[in-house]
């Protein structure tokens, strides 16, 4: 369930006019921007962009870039894009930065196969390169030791998995053992672990992870980072957690880490809230409260301020 609150009926043109008014005059009226864009569905936002462009012969996104700044601007920019396009941008930023490859693992593992495909399409359209092409060019080759890492990432973003409830129990057993060997021996068996994680259906993978737990008395991620926190192991860890339970991943790995950091990781906070507000943020909120006995809104509000804060809180379901 989503946290986003939006009206069933809205007039794209009236919204465009109100935004235009907010841009003009002395200073920008951020409150209006938040009250409109923070309360429109993805489809409605696209309609507003179109109405604005048709009416004022100006790209709304470009105008927003001039009117607002900093984390607020970044959050609004991410938010206004269609989901697949937004993820394409997030992936591209991560590749260009050469860090935050966790974002790419997240996109490749949390989204459904069709959603991931839509991201690949959007990426091609925007950057005239394929997503896997750019990931591969930045992660494989030069450093031999990084080879498993690159293979895992490229395999994850290139996957188009079977979606369905069919589980092969025998396969879950044998592949749980393969993963166990791969983790135990640290160096061997990477190739098999990569094959399993990049090709099996999510349902099958969860069955395999459950089997692992039964057979070895502990979750597969439990000892994964002991002594080896290189990029490959980190990506493996994130992938497995996202397959298993992405809500938990978002709460523990992203939101908690973002808040825990000295100087808050705004990009991570923005990413989770903007990406999930229209999907399952309500569920994430409930799980967050259950885990921390604090509302996520309170936790977030303590860390950030101003328009940025107000905007994220709007997406988290705060009424104006």
């Amino acid at each position: 369930m989503a946290t986003l609150i939006f009206p069933i009926n809205h007039s794209p043109l009236q919204d465009a006019e109100a935004l235009r008014k907010a841009f003009e005059g002395w200073g920008t009226d951020e409150k209006t921007i938040i009250s409109i864009l923070g309360h429109r569905s993805s489809y409605q936002r696209q309609q507003i962009r179109k109405a604005y462009e048709d009416h004022y012969q100006e790209d709304l996104v470009k105008r927003l870039e001039k009117e607002i700044t900093g984390d607020f601007e970044k959050a609004v920019y991410r938010w206004i894009l269609e989901p697949a396009d937004r993820d394409a941008v997030l992936a591209h930023v991560a590749i260009k930065n050469g860090r935050d490859y966790q974002v790419i693992v997240e996109i490749a593992t949390v989204l459904s196969p069709e959603e991931l495909l839509a991201v690949r399409r959007a990426y091609l359209k925007r950057y005239k390169h394929s997503l896997e092409e750019d990931v591969a060019a930045h992660t494989t080759g030069h450093l031999r030791q990084a080879s498993s890492w690159g293979q895992l990432l490229v395999g994850l973003v290139s996957s188009y998995r079977y979606v369905g409830d069919d589980i092969n129990v025998k396969l879950a057993q044998s592949e749980a053992e393969i993963l166990h060997e791969a983790i135990k021996e640290k160096k061997l068996g990477h190739e098999e672990a990569i094959r399993i994680l990049t090709t099996r259906s999510k349902t099958q993978l969860v069955a395999t992870f459950n089997r692992y737990r039964e057979a070895h008395g502990g979750s597969i991620t439990k000892n994964l980072l002991d002594g080896s926190s290189d990029e490959f192991h980190k990506a493996l860890y994130t992938a497995i957690r996202c397959f298993y339970d992405h809500t938990k991943h978002f709460i523990e790995q992203v939101v908690r880490n973002a808040i825990k950091k000295v100087g808050t990781d705004e990009d991570a906070l923005t990413r989770v809230i903007v990406s999930r507000a229209e999907k399952d943020m309500k569920h994430i909120k409930e799980a967050y409260y259950k885990r921390n006995s604090v509302q996520i809104e309170q936790a977030v509000a303590k860390e950030i301020s101003g328009d940025y804060k107000n905007f994220l809180l709007a997406l988290l379901g705060k009424e104006d």
Copy 2:
């Protein structure tokens, strides 16, 4: 240009009725089957299947399996399927046989990115596994030495390349050198060669191959199989040839090899003719004649016989 000749107007129901009549009575009337199915477009064939099923509550494909046999049956079965579904079947047969992996390389490299995606979708629907999942399970892992081979195949079938005329000349230069090193050193650099071939756009790859030829005075495939004709090198060879000029690949590698063999490779012959009759078979025919000074129909007719021969000749544009 296609070689298939088909009427602009046809009645799916009349065709279905004529086929039904051909099945009934003493023996099967193969001539009618050929004259109908050998002269209908992909769309028309699907309409006939539907009309037949609606009218007789029987699957036309299943009925055909009962009525005809051998290479003729196989060819008609391949032909009647939608192109993406047919390629999914061809890929599955190749994986199950554990040989003919060249077919998979062909599908992954000759088709456009969107066509390849349609094959992956059809494969998922039919087999409840992803194509890359089955390729990976059969080619990676168990044999360590086969690892490059598996990676190459999985990368090829998982690709969703950029389509466009943009070429990065510098990249073509540097990647031509990387490929040169990889081929010269035989063992090293596989990973980089795989990365390049599985992710770059076809236009970019052709620019890289051209650059290779200029810089090293010979085509990239020229020395590729010298001394190392393992599965990896064979797949590499086929992939490069298909990217470069798939017409030449079909003529030299598939049709010529199929005919040259003691006991003709009917599966290969069927595959090329059935797959290309509605696409670029006219072009392949012309190129074949230019190369061999013999019409492809004559060459094919010499090797095979009966209904199978008549059916393939119909697809090659022979009028009844």
